[in-house]
Amino acid sequence: MNTQSRPRTEPLLEIRNLTIRYREGDRHVTAVRDVSFSLKPDGALAIVGESGSGKSSVAGAILDFLGPASEITGTILFEGQNLAELTPVQRRNILGRRIGAVFQDPFTALNPALRVGRQIAEPMVQHLGLTLADALGRAEAALREMGIDRTAEVARAYPHQLSGGMKQRALIAAALACEPPLLILDEPTTALDVTVEAQILRLLSRLRADKGIALLFISHNLGVVRRLCDDVAVMYASQLVEFGNVRHVLEQPAHPYSKGLLASRPPLAATSRNSRLAAIDGQMPISAEPDAGCVFAPRCPFREPSCSAGPQPLTIIPGGRTVRCWKAGEVGPWPRQQVTAAAPPTFHRGDALVNATRLSKTFDASRGLTDWRLSVTGGRPQVYRRPSRVPAVNDVSFSISPGEVLGLVGESGCGKSTLGRLLLQLLRQSGGSVEFDGADLARLPAQALSPFRKQAQIVFQNVGSSLNPRLSVGEALDRPLALFSLAKPRDRTRRVEALLDMVRLPAAYRTRFPHQLSGGERQRVAIARALATEPRFIVCDEPVSALDVSVQATIVNLLADLRDAFGLSYLFISHDLAVVAQLSDRVAVMYRGRICEIGTAAEVLAPPHHPYTQMLLTSAADDEPVTGPAVSDIGHGARTGCVFAARCPHKLGTVCDTTPPPLRTPSTTHAIACHLDTLPDTAVPPVRADPYPQRAAI
């Protein structure tokens, strides 16, 4: 237990005027400018901001992570001691013993050549003087606290044998090994599935309550932060722009940037086709000049000339919050986007553009001799073949009408990306058929595929690699035009510029290369490239998942505008239910290769019918989730029964394991694959805090 005897009112961690600069060649980049805050011994502070805001650098400075190219000025006081004044040995003793840290990527944070238990035990041996055997015992106990049942196995395992969620739990156990009073977490759940994320957050919340640890939680995800932390500091372009109690800030943001950030999150509910997310124009500047004026002013809808007159100081507004905006008390809610109301189209199932019938795909990895396994059972060795894998996509059927958006939501590994690729015939299905405009694609001769390819395109998730790094934007956009002879050579430049205009990029970007563009800009180019062939159908495979929240909103709006302008249909794939709900007319929920539920967005979300849909909704919402049983991260799906049976909190019994669930259809558009008649706990579903509260504007 915590043995420190300092009074609980003095701050555990105090940061005063922290400024961090990096030397890059002969330039200096200021990552953090004059940031100050403090953290109480049992408090939980979140630092929130988008990429480039400097939030990770703050943690890096405390942990001495930043490397020789950094210059740190200001004071970091931990338990009253100035960290910069300590000798390296003293500093090292504090790290690990008094401060624990968990980082974003569990896949690289564990040493692949050491057993997991050893890595958890090491700090204990080093700092607490335990023997290795004792430390390993405590490590296993720590793993059990993290909610892992097979602790001995996991402790003896190597990192590559564990799933992402397990790895992160092990990392948290390692960080808490010496029971430090402060735990720093840098985006710990960003790389994890949303249900796993919910479990980890629950775990952290419990640990905080049980052990009284202080948390410093760095994230870009405002919803996550609300569940776990007391206070929040919002950072923008290296500066602190708002600080206060987390609920107050999230419900009544004071700084325009906070307002914009909150307003740009899609509400977790079905929305009309005409609604657009509130978005922040432009992007965060890389090098800010705060002496010239408010750094956010260029993007602020409330700006006035005096905002750019000089540096903006932090002011304290009633309620104990600090804001870096002189207008904080007078500014209203973030402006909504207005779109001219158009009559929403009705979709008839008969005139489907894309029709998938009983699609299946099993990946047969080239199986050589590595598939043989040796087992010694009853003292006699046996050699056998590893059983073949479960299909990635299993008997999936649906259709998409012209102009319709079908959202496909599910966690990683459920097969949604595979499904998208099957529709475009980038992969050959193992069973079933795909029809486009009435023609069965598998039966088409090779020449006839070309017109199909022109009409069906794809936009990917990974903005770093979806554009050829050696082709300029203009070249990348020119190629589809040339390939399909869509314009004469002399007209192509104008067409390329028109495409750039469609995605709201300046024509001058024609000569730029991908590494010169930001993530959002690259994604726009990828969308422009998809539009170049004048398609009717686009598969959007997690197009916004890798982008910051405010950039996400602009891309989602762009996709909606293009849909309306050109009558496009989309298959919109994402793990984020809110984003899917924003854009989609119908939603399909996928789990382990099967569609659990499909219906209009309104039908699927409110109230949720399938247990998995409910689990996704509650994980994504901001309030405490419905508690389910402690589940291991990878459920072993039964072969014949419901794929979700192993994780289902409402499992009926063996019928769920043995019999495939029937398809219930409460309406012509809604289908649910479940043995249950109605889902218990279908109370009013949790909905995200409305960014436009009915209460008086601030």
Binding site: L63, D64, F65, R92, N93, I94, L95, G96, R97, G100, A101, F103, D105, T108, A109, L110, N111, P112, A113, L114, E122, P123, Q126, H127, R150, E153, V154, A157, Y158, H160, Q161, L162, S163, M166, L171, A174, A175, G368, L369, T370, D371, W372, R373, L374, V383, S632, D633, I634
Partner: protein, 318 residues
């Protein structure tokens, strides 16, 4: 793991068979008249034809291959054309002597090369790194035989410290035995050392700059522990592959070094056989040397499988 081992073993068998076919075909493409070579310049065509029939050269190739291969497997490597003695005993003797050179060189290279690479990585950017970098640059820029000559010039001719050629068995005394070994082994080591040191350095640097090392430091572990237990363990895994590859270069080096130092090993024997087109000796020597390389690779692969947890423990727990 089992699957990995089985796969490797099968590969080795396939490769040895493929190699033997290649060796056989290549040597039988010789335009020379083997019979004339054996019988001398005064032989008549009839005598040559008779000998060819006796040696089986007029039979179809696949059959000849079969004879040759089956004899090989039984340890009978045929009769040397030139020396008119069975090949097998001379070959094994020569192999033994070459093995002494090879193993000594590998031992030095493994220890010294890895150590140099690690030191260069840990002190990267500072003088040990630069010194090592310059030394290795020169090391790889010249072939072994050149270094051999330089060493002979220095130690044998100028300072008369060590003998320049030949071999002395253990029966002649340990001192003589060792003194004949020093220069050849040193020569072999020089070029390989540079290669191993450079590659070890880069894999060690990669380990030192990895996230898990940073995390280990953030847990307050002392630097020495971080280097040895965290970084080194990961850096050594690819080093095994490097050393295996170097064994191949070593075999090439042995051929050149034995020639320079007139060391009676298998490499020198091979060169002689090639010059005189002594068919059976050629075939046997090439096959044996290649077989040794194959085995070395197999050993390295198996070692790699044991040391790399991803292969040793394939599956996943959950």
């Amino acid at each position: 793991m089992i699957g990995y081992v089985v796969q490797r073993l099968v590969s080795v068998v396939v490769i040895i068979v493929a190699m033997s076919i290649l060796v056989f075909l290549a040597t039988h493409a010789l335009p020379s008249n083997a019979a004339a070579l054996i019988l001398g310049q005064y032989s008549t065509p009839e005598m040559q034809a008779a000998l060819e029939h006796k040696l089986g050269f007029d039979q179809p190739l696949p059959l000849q291959y079969w004879h040759w291969a089956s004899h090989m497997l039984q340890g009978d490597m045929g009769q040397s054309f030139e020396m008119e003695r069975p090949v097998a005993p001379i070959l094994w003797d020569a192999l033994g002597r070459s093995a002494i050179l090879a193993l000594s060189a590998m031992a030095v290279v493994s220890t010294l090369g890895l150590a140099l690479g690690v030191i260069a990585a840990v002190w990267r950017g500072r003088w040990p790194d630069h010194a090592a970098s310059i030394a290795t640059y020169f090391g790889v820029s010249l072939p072994e035989f050149y270094w051999g000559l330089v060493l002979i010039l220095t130690f044998a001719s100028t300072f008369h410290l060590l003998p320049s050629t030949g071999y002395a068995g253990l029966s002649d005394g340990v001192g003589a035995f060792l003194s004949h070994l020093v220069l050849p082994v040193a020569t072999l080591t020089l070029t390989l050392l540079a290669h191993v040191a450079r590659l070890t350095r880069s894999s060690m640097v990669e380990a030192l700059e990895s996230m898990y090392v940073k995390v280990a430091r953030a847990r307050g572990l002392p630097e020495r522990l971080v280097i040895v237990r965290h970084a080194l363990r990961n850096a050594l895994i690819p080093s095994i592959t490097v050393l295996a590859q170097d064994f191949g270069f070593l075999i090439g080096g042995i051929v050149a070094v034995e020639t320079v130092f007139a060391y009676p090993g298998l490499g020198r024997m091979l060169v002689g056989a090639l010059e005189r087109q002594d068919l059976p000796l050629m075939q046997a020597a090439i096959l044996v040397l290649t077989g040794v390389y194959c085995l070395a690779n197999l050993t390295a692969d198996l070692l790699y499988g044991v040391v790399n947890p991803r292969i040793r423990y394939g599956g996943s727990i959950g």
